[in-house]
Symmetry: C2
Subunit: 146 residues, 2 copies
DNA sequence: CGGGATCCGAGACGATACTG
DNA sequence: CAGTATCGTCTCGGATCCCG
């Protein structure tokens, strides 16, 4: 696999002392303001994106099944979220022209890779939630609950 | 049946109608609307939370170092983000009463665990960014760019 | 059932100014 | 340097109505 985003560097210009920037060999640096990966990361980690991917990680789901699983999401936001994820190639949409209409949403292989990491994070947060709650109580006590 | 009635249940988790949830034994289900873990997850995965934790994963940083590392963040949002993360017990703030003032932000052990998973996700997205961009181009082409 | 279109309020966000 | 306070903008997101 070649990296298409790699910029050709002339030997004359490639001064070996690029010491100001510890380049980590990544073509897409999410820390840079204009990097497209920041947008995708926000789709993935956004309020509804994360939960949607998490729900689909268990298997294919239909629109209203997703709505029920992701408690509290509105039709609009779910639709919007699914569009963004589909556009980014993380979710596959399969519509069947039956009546009543039936549409299944599934993770793509790429989406599965991402959601696996995401789930790991979600589970980690869930498991450590008691620590978080204790830290919050301590913080609020010290600061007078702001 | 694993319904161990004695599993450590915190007083904070009061709403428990567990008749419909059979898939796991997690006390804090992020898919539930009122679960506090959802808030913490949003702090962690939010636009600035994720990048802040990612930046701190490499080591302790000062306020303005963070500002420079997390490209594009405003003082206000960085401050706000750090407060939320500190309150959740993910970031430790250490102020030294020197002149000029010096404040270091460090990940707590818990924060480190979380940021490790987060970084895994971030790196995954960065590495697969070319696939994402290709998927987007295909999507936009098919749909006529919306 | 599976959505799209529209309205509108709340909160996120950035720029600026000010403090210690 | 390390923030807080205030203000204006602008997006997010829910409610509602509508369609195939």
């Amino acid at each position: 696999m070649d990296s298409a985003a790699q910029t050709a560097v002339t030997p004359a210009q490639a001064s070996a002392d690029a010491d100001d920037r510890d380049f980590d060999a990544l073509a897409f640096d999410v820390f840079a303001r204009n990097c497209p990966s920041r947008g995708t990361l926000e789709h993935v980690t956004g309020r509804w994106g994360a939960l949607t991917l998490g729900a689909l990680h268990e298997g294919s789901l239909r629109f209203n099944e997703l709505r029920r699983r992701v408690d509290g999401v509105s039709e609009k936001m779910l639709s919007q979220t699914l569009h963004a994820l589909e556009r980014d190639g993380l979710v596959h949409r399969e519509a069947q022209p039956t009546n009543p209409p039936r549409v299944d949403y599934t993770l793509t292989p790429l989406g599965h890779e991402v959601s696996e990491r995401l789930l790991s994070l979600i589970v980690c947060v869930e498991e450590r939630m008691e620590d978080v709650l204790r830290a919050r109580a301590r913080y609020d006590e010290t600061r007078g609950a702001r």
